[in-house]
Amino acid sequence: MKKKVLFMIAILVVAGTLWGALERVHPFGEPARAPMDDYYLQNAQEERAVNNIVTAIVFDYRGFDTLGEAAVLFTAVCSVLALFRKGGGHQ
């Protein structure tokens, strides 16, 4: 019973949040102002001498984020190697 009430409250909170967000959506075809996007599109080619703006963002403007992704991959490989190491855990 207590669990059901908690679930109902959680559902109401999530639904209210989503409804509130939906009411503030800008109309279709009229995107909100995004000065950051415009800056990248206009200046990346000149500043970094790169044609692919997406790569410029991923590896240059947001390079630190990509370092985290590479570290995540490295950690995943390390954990797989630790899990499937020779000998196994059942001996």
Partner: protein
């Protein structure tokens, strides 16, 4: 896994290297075309899965040298971090090679153009580093997971080279 028939194995032997070249192309042209280190590395890493399916486990395990893949993974990550640290005269991850001339240093014409391979500075370098890391990492994951599964099932010896 048992090896598949001779037709599949022959096609695999030929087609495998086209896949490797295609993945290397995606990595090297990461700053011009859609794609980059992660995507190209994943394409190259399919090579080992391809080999596992067509040639069977025994041959794949004997073919793979894990030290080489491990070295590729570590080298890639170190290259990436070093390329980030070398720009620290300005900021961390500053693109110190772009528009300087020399390695990856040429400029691109503004507006739509067909692309210059020797451009974009550390972006190309980091693409190669990440590509090496993804090749090594995903190949090692496939290899060790297959070996771990085989260890648990403990099947008898596999036959190699015979047609089914």
């Amino acid at each position: 896994m048992k090896p598949l028939s001779v037709v599949v194995r022959t096609i695999c032997d030929i087609f495998m290297w086209f896949m490797a070249v295609y993945g290397a192309y995606i990595i090297i042209h990461g700053h011009i075309t859609p794609g980059g280190g992660f995507q190209g590395g994943a394409v190259v890493a399919t090579l080992i899965a391809f080999m596992l399916v067509s040639h069977g486990g025994e041959k794949m395990v004997s073919f793979v040298r894990t030290g080489m893949y491990s070295a590729a993974e570590t080298t890639g990550l170190l290259l990436f971090i070093c390329a980030g640290f070398f720009g620290i005269a300005t900021t961390f991850f500053y693109n110190f090679l772009a528009k300087q001339g020399g390695l990856f240093g040429s400029t691109v014409p503004l507006g739509a153009n067909s692309g210059v391979l020797n451009s974009s500075g550390t972006i190309a370098l980091m693409n190669m580093g990440v590509g090496l890391e993804v090749i090594g990492g995903l190949s090692l994951i496939i290899y060790f997971m297959f070996r771990g599964i085989r260890l648990h099932v403990e099947t008898g010896s596999e036959e190699t080279g015979h047609d089914r």
